[in-house]
Symmetry: C2
Subunit: 87 residues, 2 copies
């Protein structure tokens, strides 16, 4: 999606959008293609999913670490429920 169009959907200026997209691009979460004067941005879905996985791992470790810290008897283990996309 082009920057300008993207910005029409958001409550901020086109310039702000441009700046955010720059950060996202540098992080590898979006990719950009030039089309004339337009810059078409695409989500890098694999990277976003990887980010999610990393956050998931972070949470797993954090919760595991907290469990150690308070030295409580371990509760019955609870598997994370699966999440299907509801569409």
């Amino acid at each position: 999606m082009p920057v300008g169009e993207l910005a029409t959907h958001l409550p901020v200026s086109r310039s702000a959008v441009s700046q955010h997209l720059k950060v996202l691009k540098e992080a590898g979460l979006v990719a950009e293609q030039a089309a004339g004067t337009r810059r078409i941005y695409h989500l890098n879905e694999a990277a976003v999913l990887a980010l999610r996985d990393q956050l998931d791992t972070f949470w797993d470790r954090a919760l595991s670490g907290f469990q150690d810290l308070v030295e409580r008897p371990p509760e019955a283990k609870r598997k994370r429920k699966g999440h299907d996309r509801a569409r």
Copy 2:
């Protein structure tokens, strides 16, 4: 764990820890018990897990929303893998 002890494990001042704990308490993520001059803080595990769930839901929606936005053909659905605590 008492505030002062907690602070010895962290790279910030005791006062900073106290301030953070206040925010966490107000958010319901920790609970406090007075023991003399000491304040013993406990994690509110249920609340932390609920927060994680909410973040999880947020991500589900965000990813679902992004999928709509780019109007790509839906990929084969991938169930989230289960996470067992490795301990």
